[in-house]
């Protein structure tokens, strides 16, 4: 009886959807390049394009962190506050009161390590609240966003911080390596490392497993809580590093540095195909999302759009792009 095996009809749907989805933003980026070329002759110069990448490098690190968090099935809204708080904390601990510091007199070289450690600490608090106490990631990290921003306001008395005497913290944001800004190298290197890690290593793949079905991942021998905690911490450290790069890039850190960034971070990730439900999307897609947002910004600036309207136009373009991405990939963004 058993040798009469009726062939099970295998589902062979939409060829390699995942792969196509990865590349979904490339046409949009090409269109933007053409539009930019029409808008301004300097747009398609290597100087301008490198400038775009540098402008996006800080947001890029935040998007990288957020994408990892989303893939593992969690959410972290507090990254935008960590971005400002971590370098601000490092600066007030080092700077004298005359430069709006606390006058504690920590040696200058501690600034970058303190900045990154602040990221570790914030990520650990998030992980404790969300994973151990099982609180809702959305509302908790929203609370953290507000608390951390408030902490920065309190520490700096609402002042922006800058100092000519902190070369170590300023280094990453304005150094040039092999003729190209260090922040561009860092942005590209971190994405390449992360793409390789989640694409070709068992521990990296476990992020997708956890985001796709946490109970199943656990059954498969993955330490789901530990992996998720590490991801939350890494994301906060990336945001702190981005903050350090901003100090050097812009020369100062304002009291509401990074305000509103979380929308751009989510938009870039979702544009790149990362699912808010976890387990889906690629870091390459997220990187394309970041670059696309940068090109839009750049074109708007080159086209001399009235700065008072910039926010509205930028937001509308992102929403339009999300709609377009939904239509071209044919898949629901969830």
């Amino acid at each position: 009886m058993s040798d009469v095996s009726t062939p099970v009809v295998a589902a062979r749907p939409r060829l390699q959807v995942a792969k196509l989805r990865d590349l979904a933003l490339l046409p949009a980026i090409l269109v933007l390049l053409v539009v930019g070329f029409i808008a301004s002759p300097i747009f398609l110069t290597s100087g301008n394009l490198l400038n775009v990448v540098q402008q996006q490098s800080e947001l890029g690190l935040v998007v990288l962190g957020e994408a990892l968090v989303l893939i593992v099935g969690k959410m972290d809204l507090s990254l935008e506050s960590t971005l400002g708080f971590a370098p601000a904390l490092a600066m007030v601990l080092v700077l004298p009161t005359s430069e709006n510091g606390l006058g504690l007199g920590l040696p200058e070289w501690t600034a970058l390590p303190v900045c990154l450690l602040a990221g570790v600490a914030i990520g650990a608090v998030n992980a404790f609240l969300v994973l151990r106490l099982q609180l809702s990631g959305f509302i908790i990290t929203l609370g953290m966003l507000i608390t951390i921003r408030g902490l920065q306001q309190g520490l700096t008395v609402g002042q922006s911080l800058s100092s000519p005497n902190m070369p170590s913290l300023y280094y990453l944001g304005n150094a040039v390596w092999f003729g190209v800004h260090a922040s561009i190298w860092i942005f590209l290197a971190l994405f390449v490392i992360a793409i390789a890690f989640v694409g070709y290593f068992r521990h990296g793949r476990s992020l997708y497993a956890i985001g796709g079905n946490e109970a199943a991942a656990k059954a498969a021998g993955i330490r789901t809580t530990r992996v998720a905690a590490i991801v939350l911490i890494v994301a906060s450290v990336l945001a702190a590093l981005a903050g350090a790069m901003m100090v050097g890039h812009y020369g100062s850190i304002t009291a509401n540095q990074g305000s509103g960034w979380i929308f751009n971070a989510f938009a870039a990730a979702v544009l790149g195909g990362v699912s808010l439900n976890g387990g889906k999307g690629t870091l390459f897609g997220a990187m394309c999302g970041v670059l696309m947002l940068g090109l839009v910004q750049n074109i708007l600036t080159l086209a001399h759009v009235n700065p008072y309207w910039l926010g509205a136009i930028n937001g509308a373009i992102i929403i339009g792009a999300l709609v377009l991405a939904r239509l071209t990939t044919g898949k629901a963004q969830d």
């Binding site: 009886m1 058993s2 095996s5 068992r202 199943a216």
Partner: protein, 498 residues
Amino acid sequence: MNAVEASNITKRFGQTVALNDVHITVADGETHALVGRNGAGKSTLVSMLTGLNRPDSGEITFRGEPAPALSDRQAWRTKVACVYQKSTIIPTLTVAENLFINRQNLDGGAVISWSRLRRKASDVLGEYGVDVDPNVEAATLTVEQRQLVEIARALSFGAKFIILDEPTAQLDGPAIERLFERMRSLRAAGVTFLFISHHLQEIFEICQTVTVFRDARHIVTSPVADLSKDQLVEAMTGEAVGLGAVASRPAVGSESVLDIRDLALGKHFSGIDLSVRRGEVVGIAGSASSGKVELGEVIVGLRKADAGTVAVSGKSLKPGSVPAALAGGVGFVPEDRHKEGFVPGLSIAENATFPIAGRLGRFGSISGRRRDQVAARMIDELAIKTSGPDQDVADLSGGNQQKVVMARALSSEPDLLVLMDPTAGVDVKSKENLLDAVDRAAAAGAAVLVISDELDDLRPCDRVLVMFHGSVAGEFPAGWTDNELVSVIEGIGESSGE
């Protein structure tokens, strides 16, 4: 040597005692059956034996060594492989990656070679006769394909001790046969199995020893050969086996409720015509590839047909719309209870009364008291084992979840009931309750379509249609013999009685 020995295991979930001082010993090399009614505690024991959950008290040893620490997931994996009752396939990953989840590097170093992984996956799938493309996302698999992938994964893992928690509940006949052949050859190679199933004939077919749990307690452990089927049922239920009262329904009405004309859906089926009359119970049998489930899903609006019409009580249903089907008087039990059957996190009462929420109170409000009354009646009629109507459906045992899905389908007293594998995972005794409830619905004038390859589900039907590769291959009035039906299901017999 014993592959596993668990003693004095107790586990509570709040008020519920899921395991009460139970013990089980599985000797090396045997295939050991664990049976019991829905909610007896079988799956809870499985979660203890695979390190997903800690017993409140008790001790577990593997070949004499104490069980690893709960946090050491890797150590547990070397002791035991498991097919859980609830799917552990990750829908967003490919089939290949699911097969080798958390060992994608194939013990070959740090970096994953995807081409090698895909090749190995093809080999494993081929070896187990699973005709699935390893490169597709697991989300696109049918319930049965998912189960097959899961089984292939557990068996190919190389573990010496394998637990299978109701692996056959979603499989058709030939697939079950293939599984058993595999299990026999692995047993010959020294592999030990703990096998859970509600199909008692399977216990007699491949197990040597059987342990019975009832109401969270250990009742008996005995060689299978020393027990008759009735004795087994008696141990499970605690009652002597009575003669199942032969249900007698009033004569089938003359007006037809369901009318299907020339229905077709892609490669699944085509040219289906079918009418079901008031009070009639019609069975649809067929293997996994017959298209019977897809037909059911088209009728209830889970899928959209390419051609043809579905009409209920003379009115055509809007294709591909579940709300339209529900409004048109359809109640249904879907194939995949976890996806379309219930909402985890909500109570039994809420889940069972979804279709009638609008009738439970005035102006869109819901009267909690009336809802609980309705739910309490359902719990009683369908023998749902629960601490009360407020219990979260996600905390019920698998078979009891299935009963809640059935309760939901019945709650609106629909004109047409479409039941896809309605008794999957339901114990022998509860099956009778479920089929009785179907009988009552039919007696009250509903037309019923039972889509299943369980002969027990099909036996009470007024007639049974057999589908084969997308079309109707035979029709049998009540009174068919198992052999004639099975041979048409498997495509080797002539259709008789047409």
